[in-house]
């Protein structure tokens, strides 16, 4: 079964077409890597899935339900969560508050009701805090940092807080946009293990944008290759390694060899 299915996605900005006729399927509980040179349209694809960009044409189906026109703030409630290529944490707030915001839509009490902070809202809030501290923060080894403000953490930990925030809502579909960019080898390995653990523990369907081919080969069940806004190939990691069009797309891009490091 496919958790996410996009059909014939087209997205243009004025004259530039960021995506043209892209169809990608993410199978339930699998890790699907989205790769391609810089500017290929990978982040744009994520932005369509999370609702920031409205596609010019095409459809986005989540568990068979058409969500193409759903505004972004309604999507987390359906089980979509993401991290950003450029870490997008809420500065001036603690690690715990940041993570809790990831589960914002899971709470029953609305914004106005929660404003009063009475009875039910309060219990629900306390329960959420407890759950996050025991599951998510513990899982990602962030418990000792819970009360620090996020901007004071080192880069690698900030990425992990972002991941924790995305996990707080126990998403069905997790979009990770270059989760190891700027990390050293050890940090990359730790993050790779985390991603596999997430899938094992919660059966989350994961879409992963990554430039590091080694990591893509190790982690993904399935790969989709974008180039100049087109999906030029899909298949298993091994198939992609042998695909001439994929190889030349990468060779056309200096500094991003197929088997090499991040671009």
């Amino acid at each position: 079964m496919s958790a996410l299915e996009v059909c014939d996605l087209t997205l243009s900005f004025g004259g530039i077409s960021a995506l043209s006729g892209v169809s990608i399927v993410a199978a339930d509980g699998q890790i699907t890597a989205v790769i391609g040179p810089n500017g290929a349209g990978k982040t744009s694809f994520f932005n369509v899935v999370s609702g920031f960009y409205r596609p010019t044409a095409g459809r986005v189906l989540l568990d068979g339900r058409d969500i193409t026109a759903l505004p972004p703030h309604r999507r987390p409630a359906l089980g979509i969560a993401r991290t950003f290529q450029n870490i997008a944490l809420f500065h001036g707030m603690t690690v715990l508050d940041n993570i809790k915001l990831g589960a914002h839509t899971q709470l029953q009490t609305g914004l106005f009701g929660a404003g009063l902070f009475l009875g039910h809202a309060r219990r629900e809030e306390a329960e959420l805090t407890r759950r996050i501290q025991s599951d998510v923060a513990g899982f990602l080894e962030l418990d000792t940092h819970a009360d620090k403000e996020v901007q004071d953490l080192p880069y690698g930990l900030q990425r992990r807080v972002e991941l924790a925030r995305a996990l707080a809502a126990r998403p069905k579909l997790l979009l990770l946009d270059e989760p190891v960019a700027g990390m050293n080898r050890e940090e990359k390995q730790a993050m790779s293990r985390l991603i596999l653990d997430i899938r094992r523990q919660w059966g989350t369907t994961i879409l992963l944008i990554e430039h590091d081919m080694g990591m893509v080969m190790d982690l993904s069940d399935h790969v989709a290759v974008l180039n100049f806004g087109r999906c030029i190939a899909t298949g298993t990691p091994d198939e992609m390694g042998r695909n001439q069009e994929v190889i030349s797309a990468y060779l056309g891009e200096p500094g991003a060899p197929l088997a090499g490091q991040a671009a």
Partner: protein, 293 residues
């Protein structure tokens, strides 16, 4: 009276006035934090709330607490309407356009008040008893002291709300990063509406306190101008800064009233603000570069 007594009396009275500045300033800061819009209609929203209170308390002769509640509810509804009809339509426009719209809203509110009530000054009922307070030998105007107590309570409530309530946390998240807040499922537009309503509610309380200390005219909102200085001094996005700055400007005004000739009193706070901005362009506690207007 000894010199020390004069100093203390004016200090306390000044801090009491500063409390009103702080409240109105918080109204500014809430809206600015969330949406980056500098709400020039804040002073006039405060005036509108005070007139509603006057209508309920004097014309319809309701108990003051009931009147205050009705006034708060009414101004929240008004703010919601303004947000819905004017500001939401302007989302995505340059901030300066939205700021000009708040100017316009202020003018309209003032115009309506002038047509409905004339420019005559009304006395509000003695919401706060007049009886003076004594601390030792020092006599303090009763209204100011009670107004200050009310203000402090309200400021405390706002701080707790922002720090611990989910709506407060959603507001801070929106302030920190709108797009990401949206991605977390926060209904950013609802947060904007909420800040406008909160600002209106706070403004109403401040307006009633201010008008009951002096009197009620359509120009009550010009206090907003003094408060402009306060929020710039404190930092447009800093709750703590605006509290300190509000009290400080109130105190400074009282000091100049006590020791300097009349005319200088009017401009001293602005001189202080200017001097401050030369040293710290983002205000005492302002953190991020603030949109120039």
């Amino acid at each position: 009276m000894s010199g020390l007594q004069v100093f203390l009396e004016y200090t306390l009275a000044g801090i009491a006035t500063g409390g009103v500045y702080t409240l109105v300033g918080l109204g500014f800061v809430l809206v600015f934090k969330a949406s980056g819009v500098f709400n020039f209609a804040m002073g006039d929203m405060m005036m509108a709330g005070a007139y509603t209170f006057y209508l309920c308390a004097v014309v319809f002769d309701l108990h003051w607490a009931v009147a205050l509640l009705i006034a708060v509810v009414f101004s929240c509804a008004l703010a919601w309407l303004i947000e819905r009809t004017v500001l939401r339509r302007m989302m995505g426009q340059p901030v300066i356009a939205v700021v000009m719209a708040t100017f316009g809203i202020g003018f309209v509110l003032r115009g309506i008040a002038a047509i409905a009530f004339g420019s005559e000054a009304y006395q509000l009922p003695a919401l706060l008893p007049r009886a003076p307070f004594f601390i030792g030998d020092i006599m303090l105007p009763g209204k100011s002291v009670r107004g200050f107590v009310l203000t402090t309570g309200l400021c405390g409530a706002i701080i707790l709300f922002l720090r611990y309530s989910r709506a407060g946390i959603a507001l801070r998240a929106t302030a920190a990063d709108q797009i990401t807040a949206y991605a977390m499922g926060i209904n950013v537009r609802r947060v904007f509406a909420l800040t406008w309503m909160a600002a209106a509610a706070i403004g109403t309380v401040a307006g009633v306190i201010a008008a009951s200390v002096t009197s009620l005219t359509p120009d009550l909102g010009t206090i907003g101008l003094n408060v402009l200085g306060v929020v710039i001094l404190g930092g447009l996005n800093s709750v703590g800064g605006v509290i300190v700055a509000g009290l400080f400007i109130g105190w400074l005004e009282a000091m100049t009233a006590a020791y300097l000739p009349g005319d200088i009193r009017e401009i001293t706070p602005y001189i202080a603000v200017l001097a401050m901005l030369m040293i710290r362009p983002y205000g005492l506690f302002g953190t991020r570069p603030v949109e120039r207007i």
